[in-house]
Every structure is written in structure tokens, then in C-alpha cells.
């Protein structure tokens, strides 16, 4: 926040309220989706920015579909959808980083496991992320 002096009082007020980072992404309906972080440089790294972009993309889809398409969807269903997408995208990102593959290949690998194990893609993604965390923890312990 303090690294960008264009916003003057807004930045000072934000910092005084514990907001030290922000990321604004344009939406297709003359609007923006704003993310605020407590840490300095919270959106400087590639992964948080990519995740924020994915969220913005999802919101864009929902907005461009219009209220007629959303009226029969309660907040719970939208929340479930966002959670499932987040799991899948995070697993894809982790596999891309770990295996040096692209998003399509990572998705195909998740889809193959989903078919082989007769489980949903979100379940497979959750397992992939869980194993990745456990493996990182193992490395932390052994280091």
C-alpha cells in the first residue's frame, strides 16, 4: 500500500486499518473485484495472483450469465462450486509446478484418476493437495 503513492489518503487509511496489500481485477460489467491482504506484498507472487484471477474469472462468468441464470442457485450452491473449482485449480497448479506440465496435462491426469477410481475430480484434487502438504511437512521435519 505504501509503495504506491497515487492513492494518498486512501492508502494511509487502509494501512491504519491493517490492510497492506490490494489487488484489483477488472470485471466485464464496468466493475472490479478487489482483494485485500494483511501482509505486505500479499499478491506479489505468481500463485496468489493466478488464484485471484481464477476467482475473478468465475465471478465474471456468473455476472455475464445474468440474474435469470442465477435465480435458482442459492448461495450454498455457488459456494460449493467455488470451493470445488478452487480445489481443482490449486491441484492443477501444484502438479504443474511439481511435474513441469501445462494446465491441460495436469487436468487430464486428474481426470484419468477420477475415472480409474470412480471419484469426483474435486475428491482427487483434495487428495493430491493433501499428499503434497504431507510431503512438504515430511521435508520440513527431516530438514
Amino acid at each position: 500500500m505504501t509503495g504506491d503513492d497515487r492513492w494518498g489518503e486512501l492508502s494511509r487509511q487502509a494501512v491504519s486499518h491493517g490492510v497492506h496489500s490490494s489487488l484489483s481485477l477488472p470485471l466485464p460489467t464496468a466493475a472490479a473485484l478487489n482483494f485485500y491482504g494483511a501482509g505486505v506484498g500479499a499478491y506479489a507472487a505468481a500463485r496468489p495472483r493466478a488464484l485471484a484471477s481464477l476467482v475473478a474469472r468465475t465471478v465474471s462468468i456468473l455476472l455475464t450469465e445474468g440474474p435469470g441464470r442465477l435465480e435458482d442457485l442459492g448461495p450454498n450452491r455457488i459456494q460449493e462450486m467455488m470451493a470445488a473449482r478452487s480445489l481443482i485449480h490449486r491441484a492443477q497448479g501444484m502438479m504443474m509446478e511439481r511435474d513441469g506440465t501445462d494446465a491441460t496435462t495436469a487436468y487430464h491426469r486428474l481426470a484419468i484418476r477420477s475415472a480409474e477410481e470412480s471419484r469426483s475430480l474435486a475428491d482427487i484434487a483434495r487428495q493430491v493437495l493433501s499428499k503434497s502438504t504431507a510431503s512438504t511437512d515430511d521435508r520440513d521435519v527431516s530438514a
Binding site: E65, R85, I88, Y107, S114, S118
Partner: protein
């Protein structure tokens, strides 16, 4: 993958959609849940053979259909395109 192969894959997807009993809207919602980005108009136009989508987008719709069949206790009957070592 050439246009004929894509058209063939699309017709398989369309058969799966008809077999599923899902509405276009419900399938659109389900493909969002598995990571898809297609709008409801794009999805409907693709299933009707009026619009081309990438093999990746095709597979996202196939995954949405397959998860519906999974919910019904069935296997993954809709084939994916362009999978390396495609087991289906």
C-alpha cells in the same frame, strides 16, 4: 485433432448428454463445478454442433457428464479427447 475427429467426439458427448437427462443449464452448472469456463450459450451451441470448442473444453464438459453418471452409480461412459495414453 482434425475437424472430422472433433465432430465425432462432439457427437459422442451429445449422446452422453441426451442419455444423462440433464438440462443445458444443469450441465453448464456442473461444468463450472469441475473447472469449466464455457458460458451456457457456448455449451448449448457446442452440443448442437454450432460452435467449436477446444478439446480441453470438450473434456471439461465430458467430466461434468461423467460426474453426473458417477452420482447415479454408473461408470465414466463419456470418453475424453486428446488424453495421452487414453484408457477409455
Amino acid at each position: 485433432m482434425n475437424d472430422d475427429e472433433l465432430a465425432h467426439e462432439r457427437s459422442i458427448l451429445e449422446s452422453g448428454f441426451l442419455k444423462s437427462g440433464l438440462s443445458y443449464h444443469e450441465l453448464w452448472w456442473r461444468q463450472l463445478c469441475v473447472g469449466g469456463d464455457a458460458s451456457s450459450l457456448e455449451l448449448e451451441a457446442y452440443l448442437l454442433g454450432l460452435l467449436k470448442l477446444s478439446p480441453y473444453q470438450h473434456d471439461l464438459i465430458a467430466q461434468a457428464l461423467n460426474e453426473h453418471f458417477l452420482d447415479l452409480g454408473q461408470d465414466h461412459p463419456v470418453a475424453y479427447t486428446d488424453l495421452p495414453n487414453n484408457p477409455f
